[in-house]
Amino acid sequence: MSKHVLLCDDETAIIRAAEIKLSRAGYRVTCCSDGQAALEAIQLETPDLLLTDCQMPRLGGLELIRRLRELEATHDLPIYMLTAKGFELSAEELKAKWNVLGVIAKPFSPREVLKLVDDLFAVGAV
């Protein structure tokens, strides 16, 4: 069964590009446009991987992660952050504090995102 990736970003154009790339590579992709929608979607069905933006309406990326880590089902959910904030978010700190696998800086390449996701599932980390 194909792996389920949840994409969360209020920039629908950007999320659509990643969705096209990942779904053509065989992943099952769900898109949400803010943190609240993602939280609700995850509670319905836990994905294998979450890629989320940081700054979003209703519920921001960091707050989404904090809430997910409090839930047993998503305590260890693999998460990557997508952000244009660059140096303001420390990957090390995110990893240490919230077990975030890494930060993908915007503007990102869909190719690289696909490779990252492929590598993640290939090594059997999840």
Partner: protein, 500 residues
């Protein structure tokens, strides 16, 4: 002060003309002399030698006169010596320097056996008097200098108290020597001694003082220190600590002067600039991310149909347009900063501009299921305006309203003519603003902390709108808001009728 007074003079006169008292003292001698004279006269009568008698009388009177002279001179010497001794005694009295005129000192008879020692005493007293006069002159000069110095000190203290920056000086044991009124807040009192207060800043200041104190030559150190006041507000001070070793009247044993400059405002501006650059770069990266992603999708042949290829190209064009608008906005701000804005005003209908602005925001509002209400006046509201600029200001207000109104809310655009002025209100049912935010919301780069994550922004939109309304159109931009109960931003500009 002992002086040669009238009683002394009387004494001296008595010494010089002592007849009545001297005569009393000489009565026994005179009785003896008279008896002897009678005997001699008797004998002379007997001997008939009157010459001898006369000679004897002369001899006796001579003896008496000589005795009288000797007594008188001795008394004179005693009076003069006593006077000199009195003066010498007074010289030894602490704090009672005698004031006398050297000329008025009694003269010493050169035939007196006391002439040599009394003359030395007289010379000493005379030179003492001269020295005393010199000292008196110096003391007066010192008094004048002291008064001037005290006046200068008072002036310095007054000037120092008016210096807005805290200035203080401490001794080798960090105890306070001087502090102006601005520095008072930094001090705490331990009994009689006052020291620098202020938690972490005190420790750092004390370290800086200790450092410059160790230097054998003139040295100073400057650092920026954080300070939390009694109300818990954080401020930043640039502290300069100097040991004043290069000053003639500087500190000899480890004292230091501390001057603090409040750099909180500069720090805040730095912080705002950093946040602005961060927000601006974030805003620019987002459309760039779209362009880059879709160009890559096209390059990888991900477009499976012509429709999809066109969709990708539309996204690229849209994102490029967005990037261009953002750059225009940044340039506008830069132009406003540099004061090189080109304004081109013409008579326009404000309702028309407002309606167009509302349409610009319609897609964003629909995406958030926000109802846009157009409540424009049925009257023609003519005004002399720069069309593009006024449109930009209304768009900025509408954009903020949509950004900070939760899903399902309402944003109303209203226009009215009131008292020869045109009123354009943008009312929302959004998160609202606190009283402090209402005051600060027009500041450049200012963003409401708690709402930052609701939407991306540069913190320039309202600053730009205020500049357009107030500086370019001579109107007012105001805000009425309550936390949690929505906000109303109101533009007021003169109508064309009023201008004419």
């Amino acid at each position: 002060m002992p002086q040669v007074d009238d009683s002394d003079r009387t004494e001296l006169r008595d010494a010089v003309f002592p007849m009545p008292r001297a005569l009393l003292q000489l009565i026994p001698s005179l009785i003896c002399a008279s008896a002897a004279t009678a005997v001699v006269v008797g004998l002379g009568l007997v001997a008939g030698a009157l010459a001898h008698a006369a000679l004897a009388v002369a001899l006796i009177w001579s003896v008496c006169a000589a005795q009288w002279y000797m007594v008188h001179r001795e008394r004179m010497d005693q009076v003069v010596a006593r006077r000199y001794l009195e003066l010498l005694t007074h010289l030894q009295e602490p704090g009672l320097a005698p004031v006398f005129n050297a000329e008025s000192l009694p003269a010493v008879d050169h035939r007196s056996p006391w002439y040599a020692p009394l003359t030395r005493i007289r010379d000493f007293l005379a030179s003492f008097h001269d020295r005393q006069m010199q000292l008196e002159t110096s003391r007066t000069a010192l008094d004048i200098r002291l008064q001037r110095t005290l006046a200068q000190l008072e002036l310095n203290a007054a000037v120092l108290s008016k210096v807005g920056e805290p200035v203080l000086a401490v001794d080798a044991y960090d105890e306070l020597l001087l502090a102006n009124s601005a520095a008072e807040m930094l001090l705490e009192t331990h009994g009689e001694k006052r020291r620098i207060a202020g938690g972490s800043m005190r420790d750092k200041l004390t370290n800086m003082i200790a450092d410059v104190r160790r230097r054998p030559v003139s040295a100073h150190r400057t650092e920026e220190l954080e300070w939390t006041d009694a109300q818990g507000h954080k401020r930043w001070y640039r502290a300069t600590v100097d040991n004043l070793r290069d000053q003639p009247s500087g500190f000899e044993h480890g004292g230091a002067v501390v001057v603090l400059r409040d750099v909180s405002a500069a720090r805040e501006i730095q912080q705002q600039h950093a946040e602005f650059v961060s927000a601006a770069s974030h805003e620019m990266k987002t459309p760039l991310a779209g362009i880059k992603a879709y160009v890559e999708l096209l390059a990888d042949g991900e477009a499976e149909s012509e429709t999809e290829r066109e969709e990708f190209l539309d996204v690229i064009t849209g994102q490029a347009d967005r990037l261009q608008r953002l750059i225009e906005n940044l340039l506008n701000i830069a132009r406003i900063e540099a004061g090189v804005v080109q304004v081109s005003k013409s008579s326009r209908g404000v309702n028309e501009i407002a309606a167009e602005a509302l349409e610009v925001l319609r897609p964003a509002a629909e995406a958030k299921q926000i109802t846009l209400v157009s409540d424009l006046s049925p009257l023609y509201l003519g005004a002399m305006v720069d069309r593009d600029m006024l449109s930009q200001a209304i768009i900025n207000l509408l954009s903020n309203a949509v950004k900070y109104t939760p899903q399902g809310g309402t944003v109303t655009l209203r226009s009215r003519l009131a008292d020869h002025e045109i009123q354009i209100d943008v009312e929302d049912t959004g998160v609202g603003l606190s009283e402090e935010d209402c005051v600060r919301v027009f500041e450049k780069f200012y963003r409401v902390e708690k709402d930052k994550n609701m939407a991306a922004g540069t913190g320039l939109g309202l600053a730009l709108a205020q500049h357009i309304v107030e500086d370019v159109h001579g109107g007012h931009l105001t805000v009425r808001s309550k936390l949690g109960q929505g906000s109303t931003f109101g533009i007021t500009i003169p109508s064309a009728g009023r201008n004419a």
